[in-house]
Amino acid sequence: MAAQIELQGIERVFHLGDSVVHALAGVDLRIEAGEYISVMGPSGSGKSTLLNVLGLLDRPDAGHYLLEGRDVTTLSADEQAQVRSQRIGFVFQSFHLVPRLTAAENIALPMVLAGLPPRERDARVRQALDGFGLAERADHRPDQLSGGQRQRVAIARATVMRPALLLADEPTGNLDRASGGEVVRLLEQLNADGVTLLVVTHDPALGARARRCLRMEDGAIRRDERQQAASHAHG
């Protein structure tokens, strides 16, 4: 069976003035459906670039990216947007909620962009609000929510289109310990329900929770460790 994600020799080069930075230098990676992966490493090691490439926000300069067996590197920008809309969810460190929209409207945003009919949107938003414990906050704007609530809204928004892949960039970076733990439990619950989860983090405790830990340095994956319980994830 083909892997959900297959990266072959991915290169990403940035030109900063005269110097050339290899953010990704020949990355090969296979990810099976339903895996729980953490990506760690020092700043500038290419973690975020890897996340952006996986999320189709950034195009690699060389190599191939097969998502569910399809080479997505050659797709047009609009086709990539379509793939992002249907298959990929993002969770950001700074939440990135639209300040003028209520919690419910923020959660509905991906469905609005995808052109789903309002009836179905309303049903899914209500389901998400209930499922993430936000039912009473539906009409609150982001500035009326706590950090943990904001990130829960953001996770609800990332999963409302039922993506196969959830990409989280420092999801607990802006949260206190308690709400951070809550957010992690939520993400892991989603992973347990079958979503592939990839978390980029500086936090060793969070990184250690994943069943598979990638360690990046200088744009390459230096270590790829599977934890004790990880055996079922590798087919």
Partner: protein
Amino acid sequence: MRTADLLAFAVGAARGNRVRTVLLMLAMAIGVAAVVTLTALGDGARRYVVREFSAIGSNLVIVLPGRTETGGINPGSFVSSTPRDLTVDDAQALLRAPAVQRVAPLVVGTAELSVAGKLREGVVIGTTAEFIEVRQLRMAQGQFLPREDWNRGSMVMVIGATLRAELFGNEAALGRFVRVGDRRFRVIGVLAPTGSGLGMNSDELALVPVSLAQAMFNTDTLFRIFVEARSREAIEPAKRQVTQIIQQRHDGEQDVTVITQDAMLATFDRLIGTLTLGVAGIAAISLAVAGILVMNVMLVSVAQRRSEIGLLKALGASGGTIRLAFLAEAALLSSAGALFGYALGLAGAALIRALYPVFPAYPPDWAVLAGLGTALFTGLLFGVLPARSAARLDPVTALARR
């Protein structure tokens, strides 16, 4: 993205930054209001002139002796070059035309008028009782020339207001005698002052019966025949019939020129219409300025909302969707501003009408449509560039910045 959602999103974005939205709409509104008000002024001026012109008697058809050649040379040009006289009998014959209401023949000359030794050079007009109605003049004192046989006039005179003051000063004029050459005319009326009209100041005229003026100036020919058509619609038929009757009477030769006051009016109409268009053009420049403002404000908005745009892209919005969202916002702001400006312009026009009731300052329909259309068009046109820059934004860098 569904159209309703797109509009709702644009409205939400517009309401998200009220100061920006209000400023933008204000700029658009002032542009449209300028177009509406200025064209209302221009068109008001046109209507004003047309109305004033109509007051002189716009159903007027004027017959001049001699043919003004406009159609090149015709066979008649070789047969005779001197036109036949336009006579009092010609004028009387015109009354047969069904479209004609009144006819007033006109003889003009200058003569020396004297009253008790005071001399003054003056314009003497020989005409008939109908003149006062055809030219729509009014009497200040006494009465106008009596209705009588056009070929046998009584020795009476009607004088204009200025002439009365110059000849008689503060004394009463009615019943006094004015000597012209070897004839003495009794003053039976004074015209109310009117100012000028059709290049002839009626305040300085002395009017006498047409036959006497002809005898005085030793001529058989008329200077003009003023014909009043029965109605505005009858002007063209009257013109045709007059031409035909004169042609019959002049052995089949067209040796008169017939002009209508409407022809002059049309010239004025065109002139002021062009002026209004020019003023509207100047006002349209303010719309273009508003358009550029729309562009600047939208560009700033794109810069301010970079992370939102990046997020929308991450959530699966295509470049086209984002372009559409920003265009919808620009169009929405422009049209709202334009409608607001339209109301403002109407209020401005109403204010002008309130201040100057004689001035019919209503904006013409074409200006309203053009103003609103230009506003929308410039709004969209200048919205394209910001929308494109938003759509092209790289999501990675857009999201990285806070």
